[in-house]
């Protein structure tokens, strides 16, 4: 067999030939049994390889493992470090120039909220208590922080309850309820005092929605699309706890 003939048989078996060339190869194979045999060997090898490969299945742990390691990966850390650095810089500059006068509190506050959410993503677990049962999360939060929010069930709306945690924002413990959305997380924080934040903003790819509700201020932060976070806000506003 000449190499050119072998390539042609292989290319025929791989479906790489145009119809006219394929026809010519078929004629050639009818004349030369060794070429026909190579073609049949290729098909047998292919069947054997694919049968073996059909058994390959990554363990169920691979996906969470990949997600965990990516959750801790550098871009996020770098961005977080950059964010922290810019926050610190802003604090120094504003502190030096306008201490006590008009501290640009809102952006810094938004930074802290995003940082808390990011830190939770970097941690082994994005929550301190894992539970999809609001009757577990609510009392847990109530034990940790003075004002704990109503923990609502949004599973029907596509935001299953995942757990709760306590963040420290501006030196105060804050109750945070964690919801899931596909593979993403939404942190819902509740503040007893009114806070000044730009209504809806985006920092480092994380969207923030904030709204007053009763005597509390709610802040939702997540990397889900803006429109989905708006839907989340709407669901929380209209849910009956």
């Amino acid at each position: 067999m000449k190499p050119e003939q072998i390539y042609e048989i292989d290319a025929y078996a791989d479906g790489e030939l145009d119809p006219m060339r394929a026809l010519a190869v078929e004629k050639l194979m009818a004349e030369k049994p060794e070429l026909r045999q190579r073609y049949e060997s290729i098909v047998n090898l292919r069947t054997s390889l694919r049968a073996a490969a059909a058994q390959d299945r990554a363990s169920d742990l691979l996906r969470p493992r990949v997600e965990r390691s990516v959750g801790r990966a550098t871009p996020l850390v770098t961005r977080w470090a950059g964010l922290a650095a810019s926050f610190l810089f802003g604090l120094i500059v504003s502190g030096a120039l306008t201490w006590g006068l008009f501290v640009p509190r809102s952006p810094a506050f938004a930074d802290m909220i995003v940082s808390a959410h990011m830190r939770s993503l970097l941690a082994e677990q994005p929550f301190d208590i894992a539970s999809s049962d609001r009757h577990t999360v609510k009392p847990w939060l109530a034990r940790k922080v003075p004002q704990s929010p109503d923990v609502i069930d949004l599973t029907q709306n596509g935001f299953p309850l995942i757990g709760g945690r306590v963040d420290v924002i501006d030196g105060e413990p804050v109750a945070t309820v964690v919801y899931g959305r596909a593979k993403h997380l939404v942190s819902l924080m509740t503040f007893a005092k009114p806070i000044r934040l730009p209504a809806d903003s985006t920092i480092a790819g994380f969207h923030i929605h904030t709204w007053p509700q009763g005597s509390l201020t709610y802040v939702a932060v997540s990397d889900i699309p803006e429109s989905e976070l708006a839907a989340f806000e709407n669901d929380v506003r209209h849910a009956n706890p």
Binding site: I6, G15, L45, T47, L49, A51, S69, P75
Partner: protein, 174 residues
């Protein structure tokens, strides 16, 4: 704008099983394959903005292939002398006529899973990767050439040689 994580979830994660399968055949080990995929996922995440979105599967497999190759040179140094790396493409071409002059072994039966795995594992990496990309990942010649960064002619010659080597290895076990 879509976040890096969202982009990663959309581009890389849907191809996790294929990524695993490629790594599984490249490394010859189920355990090593998961390490390679994890490493590849970090590489993918760090350069997720480079994916132009046209071919997320090809982009993902290229990263897994590169990671597997790095992993193999790092962890299996004993194999390297056996390989004819891409630097030796001319040697490949010079030798192939001689190879094809020896009588061709045929594979006239289905080989068992173990036979097939160990035969593929024994192939030098440049040949192993083309046969795996072609027969298991079912890429065409052009896609393999792009992914492995080799000319179309080299894809064809390596693929044919890989097959001849596999026929020989599996034929002898009859």
């Amino acid at each position: 704008m879509e976040s890096d994580r969202a982009l990663f979830t959309r581009v890389f994660l849907p191809h996790l099983q294929q990524a695993y399968r490629l790594a599984r055949w490249m490394t010859g080990s189920a355990v090593d394959a998961e390490d390679v995929v994890q490493e590849a996922s970090l590489r993918a995440f760090r350069s997720i903005r480079d994916c132009n979105g046209a071919n997320p599967r090809g982009w993902t497999l290229a990263i897994v292939r590169n990671t597997a190759n790095t992993w193999l040179t790092r962890n299996r140094r004993e194999r390297v002398p056996l390989e004819r790396g891409s630097a030796n493409d001319n040697a490949d071409d010079a030798n192939e006529d001689a190879d094809f002059e020896t009588p061709e072994t045929a594979l006239l039966r289905k080989a068992t899973v173990e036979e097939v795995r160990s035969a593929v594992d024994a192939l030098p990496v440049p040949f192993r990767e083309v046969i795996v990309l072609r027969e298991i990942e079912e890429l065409d010649y052009r896609q393999i050439a792009e992914l492995a960064g080799i000319p179309l002619g080299t894809v064809m010659s390596r693929l044919s040689r890989a097959r001849s080597m596999l026929f020989k290895a599996l034929g002898e076990q009859q």
